[in-house]
């Protein structure tokens, strides 16, 4: 239901990803693995439309996605960026409400649903997002992306700088929304355990291209591959 076709792009004249194609089926959870600097984030930004496409395109439901990021969001593309980027001078409630409202959903309903999904945000509901800890901001960024009511959720390094207990919580939520609501997931990560706990299939990137496609069991079994790919 979600495809990236022959993606080529980068920043200015610097081409970072070259001719990358991948797909995520409806309700599937897929991991995008690879070392730092191989172009995972660039591919994610390409998928959301935040960097101009050098060539290639994105398809949502077999239809070519529009250029504008905001229209892609309305088609059901949710995005959790690397570095979280919550709206710092807005409260937790406002961060969630604005994401729902921008796509024509009811803001206060979205806030209620979020508080049920993420009880840890409840005591912080009226705090400004800029004052939250790194882990709380990460959860808020995820909650904000879910308020868009996406059908495919892109996550870029959701475990970066987050303490282990919250990583577990995030993994739990992702598994649940994937299973119960059928939201497809594409997660770019370096944290192997995290990926293996969510995704059934994985792409491995190297130097701006997809090096191979594999499934959970093969990756779990192959220690050699793990070390080589993640540069450990």
């Amino acid at each position: 239901m979600f495809r990236i076709v022959n993606a080529t792009g980068g920043y200015g004249k610097t081409v970072i990803i070259r001719d990358v194609s991948l797909h995520v089926d409806a309700g599937e959870a897929v991991a995008l693995l690879g070392r730092n600097g191989v172009g995972k984030s660039t591919l994610m930004r390409f998928a959301t439309g935040l960097i101009p496409a050098g060539s290639g395109h994105v398809e949502i439901d077999s239809v070519r996605a529009p250029v504008s990021p905001s229209r892609r969001a309305k088609l059901g593309l949710g995005y959790v960026p690397q570095g979280r980027f919550v709206f710092p001078r807005m409260t937790v409630i406002e961060n969630i409400a604005v994401a729902a409202e921008a796509n024509g959903h009811n803001g206060s309903e979205a806030v209620d649903a979020t508080m049920a999904d993420f009880p840890m945000l409840k005591p912080k509901a009226s705090d400004l997002a800029g004052g939250l800890s790194g882990g709380q901001q990460q959860v808020l960024a995820l909650a904000r992306a879910l308020a868009v009511q996406p059908r495919i959720l892109l996550l870029d390094e959701p475990t970066e700088g987050v303490q282990p207990s919250i990583i577990d919580e995030i993994a739990g939520v992702l598994k649940r929304i994937n299973r119960d609501r059928g939201i497809a997931i594409l997660v770019a990560e370096q944290d192997l355990d995290f990926c293996l706990s969510i995704a059934t299939r994985a792409y491995v990137m190297e130097k701006g291209a997809i090096r191979l496609e594999t499934d959970r069991d093969r990756l779990k079994a192959d220690k050699q591959l793990q070390q080589e790919l993640l540069g450990v």
Binding site: F87, A97, N103
Partner: protein, 288 residues
């Protein structure tokens, strides 16, 4: 009697500060929510004043001419945003220069249409007495108007979906787009609201400040300094900066000379910018 005099000075200074705030809020909205310095802000104020003046001359009641002025300035503002500002996002100094060009073009058009001298409309006649001193009522009313405007903008930006979108769009522009906010439409509306607030200011201040083509210059400079001193938490910052700078200047002026008042305003601005290079609210944690 000394107390009476002091009270009079304080009240009239507060009313001067309020007038400054009324003239500033539109600029603060546009700067705070779009990162754009609109140097033609004063001319929108002037357009508002002339609209109110012209419609009252046609027989429309003054109270009704104010909303008309708001609509006119909002429409012009939206057009300007679509034709000029939207092409210059992220280029702070280019927008400053382009809006300055717009400002002198509007000024000159006003000279062509209305000439340099225009009749004022009379100030509503009621006044307040404190001991031996008497204060005109309408300028005092501006204290309430300024407070209401600030509350209105605060409510608009924190209680409505539009306001949340506008704030999100300025805080993290990329993520705002990625969660589905159509920034260009939000920006057009924000600029129009900023211009509408200027139009409102021009109309509501008409009894105090008669409409002239150059009235914009007089206002925009102080308004502009107020907003820059205020920094990123625009609304609260602007309110405090307007009271401190405008009120302080007015108090200085009533004890010394009007030139001393202006000098006070500019000196304190320079001092504040020196102490707070990114504006007084740079480290505040507030919504607006």
């Amino acid at each position: 009697m000394e107390i009476d005099y002091l009270a009079t000075v304080l009240l009239s200074s507060l009313s001067s500060a309020s007038i400054l705030l009324i003239a500033t809020i539109g600029l603060a909205v546009v700067f705070g929510l779009m990162g754009v310095i609109n140097l033609a802000h004063g001319e929108f104020l002037m357009i508002g004043a002339y609209t109110a003046l012209t419609t009252t001359q046609w027989g429309v009641p003054y109270a009704l001419s104010i909303p008309i002025a708001v609509v006119v300035t909002m429409t012009i503002g939206a057009t300007v945003e679509i034709l000029i500002i939207s092409r210059l996002y992220g280029r702070l100094f280019d927008t400053m220069l382009a809006t300055w060009g717009l400002s002198i073009a509007f000024y000159q058009l006003a000279v062509l249409i209305f000439g340099t001298v225009t009749p004022g409309i009379g100030m509503p006649r009621y006044s307040l007495r404190i001991g031996d001193y008497s204060l005109a009522g309408y300028p005092l009313l501006m204290i309430a108007v300024a407070a209401l405007m600030a509350l209105f903008v605060y409510a608009l930006m924190t209680r409505t979906a539009y306001g949340r979108k506008a704030r999100a769009a300025i805080q993290v522009p990329e993520m705002a787009q990625a969660i589905g906010i159509d920034s260009s439409r939000v920006n057009t509306l924000t600029f129009a609201i900023g211009c509408g607030l200027a139009g409102f200011a021009g109309a509501v201040l008409l009894p105090i400040v008669p409409a002239t083509p150059s009235m914009g210059f007089a206002f925009v400079i102080k308004a502009f300094l107020t907003v820059v001193v205020a920094g990123p938490v625009t609304l609260t910052g602007s309110v405090l900066a307007a009271i401190g700078l405008g009120g302080g200047a007015s108090i200085t002026a009533s004890f010394l000379t009007s030139v001393a008042g202006d000098a006070f305003f500019f000196l304190i601005t320079a001092l504040l910018l020196w102490l707070f290079p990114m504006g007084i609210s740079a480290t505040w944690r507030r919504k607006m």
